[in-house]
């Protein structure tokens, strides 16, 4: 308060008294005021009671059926999610994003939800995670499919579920999505950046794990009948960048992402009018409205292949078109072969 003490001292006592009664800022009343004490206590303890009840129910069900019906670890995961969200709401401005706009704490708060999708919904089986280095730069190259980029999300989650030393994977996205509201904000905040050679170089120079989908929207927007047939791998730009930055290339094959939204047709004119790469028609979208956005629970397999050590080449080799295209083809072949092998290992689409 900026009132000078001298003013207060010299003011008549009567006026001071009147003033003190007129304070227009009053402390907010407690929200639960007026509720009976028992109800208030119940409200406060509701989460604890719910947990207790769930534990009880889980034990009873296990005794009755002999199977684990309610997995308490998963339940705790979701409780952790709620807790983390509350923590985030209270951290105010005391956080820092990196130069790309990546907010690790915010991103990690979503992990518990993605882990449920990873373990229970798509039952992802990951092999070859030991090929991903625990430290230092590396470029993950994966096939891209399934309308929405759930494959990227699952590769990121796999690094946290399977790897002994979890790391954040920084994916590169088409600049098109960086111009879209909500998406641009969400993607940047969770560590993605524009698929620009300059950005890739900078990320690799910071010893990050970078994920790139050379197929781009050609991969996600391909019709269902072409599933698991890899598209053209850009112009091999990712190989040049990896050679220049001295980062090994790790091919990644993802199986299962093709079936989450079986794309029957593409409404190209609508897409053109809306400025989108494609507008899919699936058996459920757009017929069921928002329900059509629910991905199908296909069985997923992710395989991380042996690294291709392109860092052994001199940086000048990045300008050698023959070498770059040969390496890009090698990566594409590895991924394609991996996709077919993992398809064979899968019994059916959903098991």
């Amino acid at each position: 308060m900026s009132a000078k003490p001298a003013d207060v001292m010299t003011e008549p006592k009567k006026q001071l008294k009147r003033r003190s009664r007129k304070a227009d800022i009053t402390a907010p009343a407690p929200a639960e005021f007026g509720l009976p004490k028992a109800v208030r206590r119940l409200r406060r303890k509701a989460p604890a009671y719910a947990m207790q009840g769930l534990v009880e129910l889980s034990t009873r069900l296990r005794e009755a059926t002999g199977h684990e019906i309610i997995d308490l670890n998963r339940v705790m995961g979701l409780a952790q999610f709620a807790y983390q969200q509350r923590e985030l709401a209270h951290r105010g401005t005391a956080y820092a994003v990196d130069d790309f706009g990546f907010d690790p704490q915010w991103t990690e708060s979503f992990l518990s939800v993605f882990k449920v999708l990873y373990r229970d919904y798509w039952r992802v089986e990951t092999t070859g995670i030991e090929n991903v280095p625990a430290t230092g730069r590396a470029l993950l190259v994966a096939n891209h499919a399934g309308v929405l980029p759930w494959d990227g999300t699952m590769i990121k989650t796999a690094m946290f579920v399977e790897h002994p030393q979890p790391r954040h994977v920084r994916a590169l996205v088409a600049s098109l999505f960086m111009g879209m509201p909500v998406l641009s904000w969400f993607l940047r905040r969770t560590g993605q950046t524009v698929g620009h050679p300059d950005d890739t170089r900078r990320l690799l120079e910071r010893d990050e794990l970078v994920l790139v989908f050379p197929e781009g929207v050609k991969g996600t927007g391909k019709p269902f009948k072409d599933r698991y047939r890899l598209r053209r791998f850009g112009r091999g730009g990712f190989v040049s960048t990896a050679i220049r930055a001295g980062a090994p290339i790790i091919p990644v094959s993802v199986v299962g992402s093709e079936e989450i939204y079986p794309m029957l047709a593409d409404l190209a004119p609508v897409a053109r009018a809306l400025g989108m790469p494609y507008v899919p028609v699936t058996p459920f979208w757009p017929w069921l409205g928002p329900l059509g956005l629910l991905p199908l629970p296909s069985k997923w397999r992710i395989e991380f292949h042996e690294p291709i050590h392109v860092e052994e080449y001199l940086p000048e080799a990045a300008d050698d078109r023959n070498l770059v295209m040969a390496l890009a083809d090698e990566v594409r072949e590895t991924i394609q072969k991996g996709v077919y092998e993992n398809l064979k290992r899968r019994r059916s689409v959903f098991t």
Partner: protein
Amino acid sequence: MISSPNRVLITGVSNPLGAEVARRLAPQVPHLFGCDVADPVSALEEMDFVHADTRHAVIAKLIRQLSIDTVVHMAVTVDSAREDRATHETNVIGTMNVITGCTGPSSRVERLVVKSSQAIYDAGPTDPSFFSEDMVGPERQGSFITRDLRELEQLVGEFTLRNSGCDVTVLRLGYRVAEESTLAKYLSLPIVPTFAGFDPRLQLLHDEDAAEAIVRSVIGRHPGVFNVAGSGVVLVSQAIAIMGGRPAPVLLPYGRWTARFGLRAMTGISLPGHLADVLAFGSVADCARLAEEFGWGPAYSTRAVMDSFARGKEAEVIEAPSPTQEYELQVFLQRRRRQELRGQSAASTSLVTRR
């Protein structure tokens, strides 16, 4: 060739940044001249002030008559929302006149420092995350300030090519939130209309660092084009929260002029076109070249600039408002707003208005 500057002319010396540069240069150079259309804010004994407009050819004559050897060209307007003749004349024609004064056999100018801006990059969704100095291309049609700056730098570039005897430094200063800049006014609104679904990165430069960079390029010898901006970034929502405001995502991201019109109708702030792009897509410059060549970098990080600005506005910087603190913060902000509305005298009695 003289290694240290002897007779220095500063154009646009009356704006706060120009005054700060003059104040820092005064003890370091023997003769200091300043020119502007307006009177300087504070008198500086060591500086000779000349009323002169860079938009007139007389500036070229002035440079010759005073036998200037170092020109610091700061009469460049960036923070202007209206696309008017005067801004274009100041930025392009003014620079042309200054360059004319530096050219020719009778000129003794050996060093030219030009203040440009990061606005030359004009943010967009397809841009890489960091702008380096060579990323200025004619591909995109930016806002009029961007076009002006591009033309200005082109003139300077041509001059550099033709006059190898003259060291030319172009400093692309980052966005600043000091004094009455539009960005500062925008961020200190109590409820800030932002672009719906966008929360870009913001990179800022402290005025002290801006002045220091200009002084260093006058005293030292660093020809070339340099980005100057604070390290690190803050998100727009974070910056608003630091200022104690609340973001309101109401501006439509499509059609930049509708958003600018809406903002003017709601808050009375007219946003320059390039700033609207920055607030939608973000603009971050890579200052590696500056660090390498100058051996110096801005002392204030972006976060520090934001915090010092908030402190300057007498808003408490609360690191993490817990629920109990939040109420106190609201009290504080209400009081501050009332003080601004009614002035200091009314504010002293403002706690007592309602029974």
